[in-house]
């Protein structure tokens, strides 16, 4: 505080770059803590020291089974799925300049779900197919479903540019239509597949294995750098399409890239764990609130997503009775937040 800059520094906005960096670092630490907690949490009496010792290869065989074979993939899935959803949500919310515009609400998640359910149901009643479906068929089907939905919703919302509220409304319609199709598929399916699909649609990390983590990890490794490189263009886009174009942003290409990244991340996440609701909605908003910025910071949103999913799952395993899927917890937390946002969101209505 030099005292020279006059009365206007009162209530000054902090310099965004520094604060975002700090928030990102704090989130990274939180991810580490939650990751370890996810290894320890659960029914067996494993201590923190046991878990860490097992991680470096010094545990007893039962400890190795629990930590390395059962919990590690689950934690890895939670971290990657959460990161993918958080990043996807940050991208779509920024792109549409509207916090309601998340993959869940735009229909992308349901599209991925429909693709995945189709893969589960139509794969035939044999369990031998399951691992092949998990490894390849499911992610591909989910990506296909998500991409087609995204293109249809975006195409329908397009009228000389995309109005974010029209995008959201059409997304809600698409979500409803896809929900109907998904129910139809489940109703027509054999009872075992129907049960598997319904259970999967809740969004859960129970029963995930390394093969289902791999596609998400791959999507993150490939897509996250592309998405992060769009950061400056996303900042410019917050000033309106015309200003962004004037600043040298190739708008159409930028839009396609951002949407493509969000679709790929959402599809990968959904194919691994089923649709874990509201993570893509809540995580970027938390990150944005912490960083105090005009848009959700991408990396911090991904990290908050990891914390929410992994933490929610650990919470469900250690505190709540029975095996409650993490998808139910995120919905229980996210839905009230959505209602709150709708009630307090009147000022952002006019974004073109």
């Amino acid at each position: 505080m030099t005292g020279l800059s006059g009365p206007f520094t009162w209530g000054a906005a902090p310099y965004a770059g520094h604060r975002t960096g700090l928030v990102t670092a704090v989130c990274a630490v939180a991810v580490l803590i939650v990751g370890v907690a996810g290894l320890v949490a659960g029914s067996s009496d494993l201590t923190l020291a046991d878990a860490l010792r097992t991680l470096v290869g010094a545990g007893s065989p039962p400890q190795q089974l629990i930590v390395l074979e059962l919990r590690l993939p689950r934690v890895a899935a939670g971290l990657t799925v959460g990161a993918a959803l958080g990043l996807a949500g940050a991208l779509t919310q920024t792109f549409a300049r509207n916090p309601l515009a998340t993959p869940d609400i735009l229909g992308v998640t349901s599209g991925a779900g429909l693709g995945a359910v189709a893969a589960i149901v139509l794969a035939g009643g044999s369990y031998s197919l399951t691992s092949a479906v998990l490894g390849l068929g499911l992610p591909v089907a989910a990506t296909l479903g998500a991409s087609v939905t995204a293109l249809v919703v975006y195409g329908l919302a397009w009228r000389d540019g995309v109005d974010s509220y029209r995008l959201v409304l059409i997304g809600i319609g698409a979500t409803a239509a896809i929900g109907g199709l998904t129910s139809f598929l489940i109703a027509r399916a054999q009872i075992t597949e129907a049960a598997a699909a319904s259970q999967w649609l809740v969004g859960s990390l129970s029963g995930v294995s390394w093969p289902s983590v791999r596609p998400v990890l791959l999507a993150l490794v490939v897509v996250a750098p592309v998405a992060l490189a769009q950061g400056p263009d996303l900042d410019a886009g917050m000033l309106g399409d015309d200003v962004a174009a004037g600043l040298g942003v190739a708008i159409q290409r930028h839009r396609l890239l951002v949407l493509g990244c969000a679709v790929a991340l959402t599809a990968a996440a959904v194919s691994a764990s089923g649709p874990i609701g509201f993570v893509a909605f809540v995580a970027p908003q938390i990150a944005q609130g912490l960083a105090h910025r005009a848009r959700p910071p991408l990396l911090a949103s991904a990290l908050v997503g990891s914390v929410v999913v992994t933490g929610g799952d650990a919470f469900a395993r250690s505190v709540l009775p029975g095996e409650i899927p993490v998808g139910i917890i995120t919905v229980a937390v996210g839905a009230p937040y959505l209602i709150w946002l709708l009630l307090h969101n009147t000022e952002r209505k006019d974004m073109a």
């Binding site: 965004a16 300049r97 400056p232 917050m238 015309d242 004037g246 600043l247 848009r295």
Partner: protein
């Protein structure tokens, strides 16, 4: 370098249309370097459309827009952004963004992943803040500024882009008269000091005349008058382009033309049928204006 006589920006047989609605059918217009050119015309005449085409926000369906003698469509948009800055009519003011941060977005075309923020960028932003007189607002939240301050911040963003050419689409809309004058004075000072070529769209004809080197009057998809403010703002042009009966007198302070709408049957209307009084129907030239100015000032 390009020859100075090359027009910096030119529409060449450009047809501009929204969907199937053709606004301009083959328009030619050259913008000269170093001048403040102001496009005027009635609402819906297409002046903003033309400005959008110059700013590559609207691609011509036929013909072309040239920047420094080269077709704009063939240039990378980022390269164009280093030559030409534009301020559209309704920019979105982001939340939780300080004025300095907002202005620093103007450096976008100069940055890349390999060339992030440099001292040059910081200097351009500081200079832009100073040139627009908002240095002491730099740490304020942009959303908390008043209309006049905010518009200065947007101009600062455009200046931070550090381009030889600037397009402004109705930069004074929604501003009080004092802020309109302040803003236009600032734009002209920037033009004089930095040599920045300015093309803008303005509604207020007298202000347009006062702060422009050249006026281009547009009506029904073509240029109806083009030249110095005194050449363009004639009662005949005003009648044709704006459907406005008006006298043009010399601004008592600057000697620039002042458009004074006449009342067909109000006080001061001549007894004769001429809508425009013959005395003022002829434009009063700047040379004759000094005395009138003094009279007004004394009166």
């Amino acid at each position: 370098m390009t020859d100075d006589s090359t027009p910096s920006l030119a529409a060449i047989g450009a047809t501009l249309a929204y969907d199937r609605h053709v606004v301009f059918d083959g328009i030619d217009l050259e913008i000269r370097r170093g001048e403040v050119t102001t496009l005027i015309g009635a609402n819906g005449c297409g002046k903003s459309t033309l400005l959008r085409a110059f700013g590559r926000l609207l691609a011509p369906t036929r013909g072309r827009i040239e920047l420094d003698g080269r077709p704009m469509a063939s240039l990378p948009t980022r390269a164009v952004a280093r030559r030409l800055a534009l301020l559209p009519q309704k920019p979105l003011t982001p939340s939780a963004t300080s004025v300095r941060e907002l202005v620093s977005r103007g450096r976008h075309p100069h940055q890349s992943l390999l060339h992030p923020w440099t001292p040059d960028d910081a200097r351009a932003v500081t200079q832009a803040l100073a040139a627009t007189g908002i240095s002491d607002l730099a740490d304020r939240d942009a959303a908390s500024l008043s209309g006049g301050q905010l518009q200065r911040a947007w101009i600062a963003l455009v200046l931070a882009q550090d381009t030889p050419m600037v397009l402004l689409d109705e930069p004074t809309t929604f501003l009080d008269l004092n802020h309109q004058v302040e803003l236009l004075r600032m734009v002209r000072r920037i033009n004089r000091q930095r040599g920045t070529t300015v093309v803008m769209v303005l509604h207020d004809l007298s202000l347009a005349a006062r702060y422009a080197d050249r006026l281009v009057a547009i009506a029904s998809g073509r240029v109806v008058a083009d030249g110095s403010p005194w050449d363009v703002l004639t009662p005949a042009t005003l009648r044709n382009a704006f459907d406005l009966e008006a006298a043009v007198i010399a601004d008592p302070y600057t000697g620039s033309p002042l458009v004074v709408p006449t009342e067909p049957d109000g006080p001061g209307a001549p007894a004769g049928s001429e809508a425009v009084p013959s005395r003022t129907g002829q434009s009063t030239r700047p040379g004759q204006s000094t005395q009138a100015g003094q009279q007004v000032r004394l009166g």
